[in-house]
Amino acid sequence: MSFLLPCPQCGPRDVYEFRYGGEAQRRPAPGSPRSTWTAYLYDRTNAAGVEDAWWYHRLGCKRWFRAVRDTRDNTVLKSTAPTVPPRDANDPPGD
């Protein structure tokens, strides 16, 4: 893995500068059934294809952002500073 990831703050940087923060997903509402929580906590799409995920610029600006990436060839289609917090993070980032 050696692709460049564009940080919305710092520009394209080596992926080793970042921490992967997992797939973006919506946190269940309080009181949701257990199966919903279990899916939120343990089920991952692990897509062979386009994935929307959280990244943290560990060795840079120390900010979280969202990147839409094709996991098959690590092409980053889009990266944006988040506008919605992780508790409703299934909205498309940015717009």
Binding site: L41, P86, A89
Partner: protein, 946 residues
């Protein structure tokens, strides 16, 4: 480079070898007529120089203790110690050379067939086989890699290859305004031009120059070009994702990140197949010419040239022009196709033999004769050198690795790149263009194209002419026992035949079974050769067989280069030299160095319990959380509540994730209406900060966090007399009334601003004092002075661990793991279930439906001994829990600890059995569950009443 002729010397297997400054070890050995430089991998056959370009395995030696150094491209150093490898007692006389006669009982894959019974004996066999086969030995003592360097480079265009094509491509790219990094594995630019007598055409900067002049011109132009950085003697070993070129030179690693990559790896001769084609003195024609031109070394006097295409004529003419006595041109084809060239060879009185078969080299440690059938009889030609002159083949490995599609050009019999990925351009001979004018034109165009693309201008790739139609089946390889396909792994034509016969009929399976192409040369010598042999045996065309998958590294890389220098950061607290002066022993905690112990646990323990002790807790993570919504935000992240914390108070905190797992613990002090001071464990800070930041990302909450970990030094003053000590240092009222347990006060200590937290991890009256780091040492000194008459002593992490165990205070990460929830960890009291929602609420709520969960309990050992951390708690021989912490308590004179046990064993007073040794055979000791703290269970001392 023949600039100076200063004489130097080194030793080879104990023998002194004279050399000139500028020689490589290989050229010096050739000059000194040392024929045998190495022994082959399996049969221990004598081997000498073959490629003289750092590609083949034949000249790998150990230089000053470093194994597998290629002598032919390594500069000779005065006083160097060089030794041969894989031989005993020496490469010249290797007793294991007898294996060469055992080839009938050591066929390909023999170790899969011979040493399989009894199974248990394999480790013994393996040890012996390992000793007998292989390369150099790794030094037993680890080599410091501090000299290793790692360099990150960024450029518009990276050019791989510094031959005529690569050099011109680099110049063209720079002329278009691109910043260029030119990576070349040779010391000098210009590639084969250095030993070519022909006149160069095809590019304005070189037109009309002879080879060596053109080479010098390129070297000068590139040296003077400010936009080009040239990395000489540096091998590009891989092209990776994100247009990253990995390259190395010795123990230095280069990571070159380029917008565009031009691959100008050129073409290279490969060996030909005939009996004893690996004897010392059998060399690639280019290697002989290179040695002569670069180092003024004649590897022999009388050369017989062996060929199978028109390249043989060219090589014979070049060799003759370079002063060699060419004794024969032996061509395996019935007739040369380039009659003009062939006539030129004959006109120089070089005997030409066509339709040669059963070619054989005679001579053991050096070529003496070349024999073959031609013109109806057995011929014999005297020679001390045999030049293998096969048409150079494009070096397509890096391109293939990078994802280029290769096609087989039937008209030339070569694999050439058909389609390259968007950011990669092939240039020059690697494209299959062999004439110099064509190479330079292709390279100039490729360099310009790459530069324009890198600078943001779209340029179309010119259409490539379609390759010629596929030719028929490949000719069958010679039927001889000792025609080597793969020099690295000693794989012969016969071995490949046998592998195919045994059913490994696909090229990739032949590769895996025979290990052909898998040695140190990474297929540079044998990639297409083995494909050709495979095609010949199976009766296919090479185009159909294809090549095996190319993977990095293209060239071996030292582990030191990959590991790089040891640059692990080390953090020291502001009090570090105070600890050093006190003779502290250190312990690493994350990046931090902390005092483990100063004197003895017993002495430090006594000071804390009976008088006063101080410990440097600067490594605690410290975070200021401010803003209108700070209180609500901390409520959200914790099972307990902070929005109701009064200003001037501190509260224990433990954080959970949504699964209800304990992440870390610490304290939160409220210093103002919108200002909280949060501490974390030493190792947890980064994770906690990132966790907070994540929940704040995109949030409209008015919360800011500031990392003040390094800004503040922190000292914990603990013990029954600690109040008397601190009283002398501050004007603040430190009485229990004014500053009770869990008070948080901003004041001055020893004349500097400080935050005092009335908390006590070790279970005594305690003051955690946070001061600006630059005053840390001053405050420490003042505390030590003030505490002198009370018997104050510094205590280390080890003593602190013992003290806290007597209170059964847990350390998340040590006593909890990725499955521990607060309820079962004994932190159930922090969970405020009435809170509407918080991170972890759902996970904690779900616990109710799971019964039989293990619980974290305290225990005391009644049967003697100190169980190790991780020791099993057993019941009737079955594991029912495990120890997470255990120390000998000086106060109780027995071991105490924390353990997770199944609930039926978790009641007060339950008898436990804990293993002392490893595994199931270990002895056990008796222990008893103890749920209340051992020390001061009511917390009277901690609260420090009175």
């Amino acid at each position: 480079m023949r600039m100076t002729r200063q004489e130097i010397s080194f030793t080879f297997d104990g023998r002194r070898v004279q050399a000139f400054d500028g020689d490589t070890y290989g050229s010096a050995l050739a000059r000194a007529r040392v024929d045998v430089i190495s022994r082959s991998f399996k049969y221990h056959r004598p081997r000498g120089l073959l490629c003289c370009a750092g590609r083949c395995p034949n000249c790998m030696v150990t230089v000053d203790g470093v194994p597998n150094v290629r002598a032919c491209v390594t500069r000779a150093v005065d006083g160097g110690t060089v030794s041969g490898q894989n031989a005993w007692p020496s490469v010249r006389r290797d007793l294991f050379g007898a294996f060469d006669r055992l080839d009938r009982i050591l066929p390909v894959g023999f170790y899969y067939k011979t040493f399989i019974r009894p199974r248990a004996a394999w480790p013994v066999y393996e040890g012996v086989l390992r000793r007998l086969a292989g390369l150099g030995s790794v030094r037993r003592t680890p080599r410091q890699a501090d000299h290793a360097t790692k360099r990150h480079m960024f450029c518009d265009v990276a050019v791989i290859g510094g031959g005529p094509g690569g050099s011109v491509a680099a110049l063209a790219a720079s002329q278009a305004g691109a910043r260029v990094v030119l990576i070349d594995d040779q010391e000098q630019l210009g590639g084969h031009l250095a030993y070519s007598q022909a006149t160069v055409t095809g590019d304005d900067v070189l037109n009309g120059l002879r080879g060596p002049e053109a080479s010098a011109r390129l070297e000068k132009l590139i040296r003077e070009n400010p936009l080009i950085e040239h990395l000489p003697s540096t091998s590009a070993f891989g092209i990776y994702e994100g247009n990253l070129v990995g390259a190395s030179r010795g123990d230095s690693l280069y990571r070159v990140r380029a917008k565009q990559i031009v691959v100008a790896t050129g073409a290279f001769e490969r060996p030909l197949l005939f009996h004893n084609n690996d004897r010392p003195g059998v060399m690639l024609a280019s290697a002989i010419l290179r040695l002569a031109a670069r180092h003024d070394v004649r590897a022999g006097r009388r050369v017989a040239v062996v060929t199978e295409d028109d390249h043989g004529c060219a090589a014979a003419l070049e060799l003759a022009s370079s002063g060699f006595d060419v004794t024969a041109l032996v061509d395996s084809r019935p007739a040369a196709s380039d009659q003009e060239r062939s006539a030129a060879v004959r006109s120089r009185h070089i005997p030409v033999w066509e339709g040669a078969t059963r070619i054989e080299v005679v001579g053991r440690s050096r070529v003496r004769q070349l024999r073959f059938d031609s013109g109806g009889g057995r011929r014999s030609v005297n020679a001390d050198l045999v030049a293998m002159a096969a048409r150079p083949e494009p070096v397509v490995s890096l391109l293939a690795q990078a994802g280029a599609k290769l096609v087989f050009d039937g008209s030339t019999g070569l694999f050439v790149p058909a389609e390259c990925p968007a950011n990669i351009t092939a240039a020059g001979h690697v494209e299959g263009i062999s004439d110099i004018a064509g190479v330079l034109k292709s390279a100039r165009a490729a360099g310009t194209r790459a530069a324009l693309r890198a600078l943001g201008q779209p340029v179309a790739t010119p259409a490539r002419p379609l390759p010629g139609a596929p030719i028929g089946a490949a000719p069958p390889p010679p039927a001889t026992r000792k025609a080597f396909v793969c020099m690295c792994e000693d794989v012969t034509v016969k071995d490949i035949k046998l592998a195919i016969h045994e059913g490994f009929d696909a090229l990739e399976t032949v590769k895996r079974y025979s290990t052909a192409t898998m040695g140190p040369c990474q297929g540079k010598m044998c990639h297409s050769l083995s494909a050709g042999v495979h095609a010949g045996i199976t009766g296919q065309s090479v185009g159909k067989t294809g090549l095996t998958t190319a993977r990095p590294p293209f060239q071996p890389v030292t582990l030191a280069a990959l590991a790089g220098p040891h640059l692990a950061p080390e953090r020291q607290t502001a009090l570090h030299d105070r600890h050093a002066r006190l003779g502290a022993r250190w312990v690493d905690m994350g990046e931090w160095k902390r005092p483990f112990i100063y004197t003895t646990v017993a002495e430090e323990y006594r000071a804390v319990r009976e008088a006063a002790g101080i410990i440097d807790v600067s490594t605690l993570g410290k975070l200021e959380v401010t803003g209108r919504d700070a209180g609500e935000f901390l409520d959200w992240l914790h099972p307990n509540r902070f929005s109701d914390l009064r200003i001037g108070r501190v509260r224990y905190r433990a954080m959970t994730d949504d699964a209800g797992i304990v992440l870390d613990d610490g304290t939160v002090a409220r210093l103002g209406p919108e200002r909280f001071f949060l501490t974390t464990g030493t190792g947890a800070f980064d994770a906690v900060e990132q966790w907070l930041q994540w929940w704040l990302a995109g949030s409209r909450r008015d919360v800011q966090t500031i990392n003040v970990t390094s800004e503040l030094a922190a000292i914990n003053l603990a013990g029954p007399r600690s109040r008397e000590v601190i009283k002398r240092l501050t004007g603040a009222d430190v009485s229990n009334k004014a500053m009770p347990y869990l008070a948080a006060v901003e004041t001055e200590v020893a004349g500097v601003p400080a935050i005092i937290l009335r908390i006590g991890f070790v279970g005594e009256l305690g003051f955690e004092i946070h001061v600006p780091a630059e005053y840390g040492a001053h405050v420490w000194d003042t505390l030590m002075d003030a505490g002198h008459e009370f018997g104050i002593k510094p205590f280390g992490v080890e003593t602190q661990r013992v003290l806290r165990l007597e209170k059964l205070h847990i350390i998340p990460g040590q006593d909890t793991d990725a499955l521990s929830n607060p309820v079962d960890s004994g932190l159930g009291w922090i969970v405020k279930a009435e809170k509407s929602d918080f991170v972890g609420r759902a996970g904690i709520a779900a616990l109710g439906s799971r019964s039989g969960r293990p619980l974290l309990i305290g225990f005391e050992v009644t049967g003697g001994g100190v169980p190790a951390e991780g020791a099993a708690v057993v019941h009737q021989g079955r594991p029912v829990g495990r120890v997470t912490s255990c120390k000998l308590s000086p106060g109780l004179q027995r071991a105490i600890g924390l353990a997770w046990v199944n609930p039926e064993h978790a009641t007060e007073g339950s008898a436990l059995s804990i293993r002392l040794g490893e595994g199931t055979s270990g002895t056990t000791t008796a222990a008893r569950v103890h749920l209340a703290p051992f020390h001061d269970p009511e917390g009277a001392r901690l609260r420090g009443g009175g």
